[in-house]
């Protein structure tokens, strides 16, 4: 029963990782940019919600109504000022510039808010610790269930937006070939800026859940980035893959923690590396198969 419990808790944790990875996956999918400031931006959103909650007594979930548009605006500006210019210089430059941005953000937040550890948990009443008891005595936290539900809703919503709206068509066209998209009237620059804005809106939501379920400080971002990145890689980069990747990572950590007290992080990283190596190996094997097949074909001909 303890293993089943770990499995269920892992699933819930996976929902959080999927939520965290949503924006990272979206930006990578659309623009091929890995935003290393992703975690720091989530923490920035968390601080905004914290200020709203502490000074103005705004419930964090209500505060999102203000923070989501602000983060979207930040995303738009981020694209115009940083990503667009650096992406023009090659695939590696956005990595450097977002890494630099993460350092600037982390240290600025340290300057502004100090080293104190914060949390939004005190501002959400009993939601932070209430749970439901499932048959079999497994208890799931209400916040964890809400996190998983929001992750599924966001990823599903993004998927529907991409497949069923005019903006989605434009985003997919620009993602595949920006030059040709321009040739049919798509303003690829504006589409990319809008995509970054959408990604940052999801980062605001991720930041809220990060701060409600646990504590954060100015240097929390990079750790969250690692989990989000692992979820994206395990999932293979697509939106639904990211949900799956988050859940695999969450379950691996949860089971790992049950095996050994220090197994939590190790199990997650091991699964990430195993999937990464399997991909490389599978790609090589596939290539070898194709080569031997075409070789046979040639010798027969």
């Amino acid at each position: 029963m303890i293993w089943l419990n770990q499995l269920v808790q892992g699933l819930m944790l996976g929902g959080y990782y999927a939520l965290l990875a949503c924006g990272l996956s979206f930006m990578f999918g659309v623009m091929g940019i890995i935003n290393l400031a992703h975690g720091s931006l989530a923490v920035l959103a968390a601080y905004m919600l914290f200020i709203l909650a502490e000074r103005f007594e705004v419930h964090p979930l209500l505060g999102l109504a203000a923070v989501v548009p602000v983060m979207a605006l930040i995303g738009w500006v981020l694209h115009r000022l940083v990503l667009e210019r650096s992406a023009r210089a090659g695939a590696l430059i956005p990595l450097l510039s977002t890494f630099g941005l993460a350092s600037v953000l982390d240290n600025s937040m340290f300057q502004a808010f100090g080293a104190d550890t914060r949390s939004l948990a005190p501002y959400i009443d009993t939601l932070s610790y209430d749970g439901w008891t499932l048959p079999g005595g497994i208890i799931v936290g209400q916040l964890a269930v809400l996190t998983l539900a929001v992750a599924i809703a966001l990823l599903g919503g993004l998927h529907l937006m991409l497949t069923h709206t005019a903006l989605g068509r434009r985003i997919r066209a620009a993602a595949h070939d920006p030059d040709t998209a321009q040739l049919v009237g798509v303003d690829a620059r504006a589409v990319y800026a809008a995509s970054t804005a959408i990604a940052m809106a999801t980062v605001a939501v991720a930041g809220a859940f990060l701060a409600m379920r646990a504590t954060f400080d100015p240097y929390t971002g990079p750790y969250q980035l690692i989990f989000a990145f692992e979820a994206v890689i395990i999932g293979g980069g697509s939106l639904w893959g990211t949900l799956l990747g988050g859940i695999v990572l969450g379950i691996a950590q949860s089971i790992g923690a049950q095996v050994h007290p220090q197994g939590f992080l190790i199990a997650g990283h091991v699964v990430f590396l195993a999937v990464l190596l399997a991909r490389v190996y599978a790609a090589n094997t596939l290539r070898r198969c194709i080569r031997s097949f075409t070789g046979r074909f040639r010798s027969r001909a």
Binding site: R172, L183, D187
Partner: protein, 257 residues
């Protein structure tokens, strides 16, 4: 006034100047064919006109407005559309999505999903299929249909018959005939690059021969002969240039030898 006026246009690939000071005027409703060997700069010229290749010198004036500095999507919005070489569809998107994405140009006109499907009826049963799964001829139809969805005043066609079966080429040109040139329902001005000289003579009002980035001859299609065009194609100078070739082209030829 001409619809498109090109003045001393230059475009480069690194150190290579692929388009070297080309000047052309294209009238409303005209069908103009660019002829020349591989590397003559035809594709680069079209891509520069469409705005996906940077202008290194000179001006492009479309409908009285200098569009040289405008990004490609703004030129499409002004009515200048390119069907690129190699079709360049969005392969993972359905045929319908490929066509609808071109509504981003936001131009009013006769062309919509219905009229494009009427012009290319072979696409009707394929609307929900991924564009990448279509045959070459069908893909070319989608590429042209997608450009038409922007309701262009001028259509630039880059080697629409490349890699297609003769039957598919015929079908594409049959559809094109309804929109090319004066007197047709759409009266679209067309600039096309086509390797098949016979077909070029059939569809074009005017033929412009290019060699190494320059215009070496131009004239009305009914006043030029196949032999004259062939000479310019390879850059031989066995006879005098065509009667209507402009003076700069003649002087360029003289310096080339």
């Amino acid at each position: 006034m001409s619809l498109l006026k090109i003045e001393g246009l230059e475009a480069r690939h690194g150190l290579l100047t692929a388009v070297q000071g080309i000047s052309l005027e294209i009238e409303h409703g005209e069908t103009l064919a660019l002829v020349g060997a591989n590397g003559a700069g035809k594709t680069t010229l079209l891509r520069t006109l469409a705005g996906v290749h940077p202008v290194a010198g000179g001006r492009i004036v479309f409908d009285g407005v200098d569009v040289s500095a405008l990004p490609a999507h703004r030129r499409v919005a002004a009515g200048l559309a390119l069907v690129p070489e190699g079709r360049k569809l969005f392969p993972a998107m359905t045929v319908q999505e490929n066509l609808l994405v071109a509504l981003s140009a936001k131009r009013e006109g006769n062309w919509n999903l219905g009229s494009v499907l009427e012009a290319f009826p072979q696409l009707k049963p394929k609307l929900k299929a991924a564009a990448g799964t279509l045959s070459g001829g069908q893909q070319q139809a989608v590429a042209i249909g997608r450009a038409l969805m922007t309701n262009p005043r001028m259509l630039l066609l880059d080697e629409v018959s490349l890699g297609l079966s003769p039957l598919a080429v015929q079908s594409v040109y049959n559809s094109l005939r309804t929109l090319m040139g004066k007197g047709t329902a759409h009266g679209t001005t067309v600039v096309l690059v086509e390797q098949d000289l016979q077909r070029t003579f059939q569809v074009a009002d005017r033929i412009v021969c290019m060699l190494e980035g320059k215009v070496v001859a131009s004239g009305r299609a009914d006043e030029m002969t196949r032999e004259q065009v062939m000479e310019h194609y390879f850059g031989h100078r066995t006879s005098t240039s065509t009667s209507s070739a402009d003076s700069s082209a003649t002087s360029q030829q003289a310096t080339a030898t």
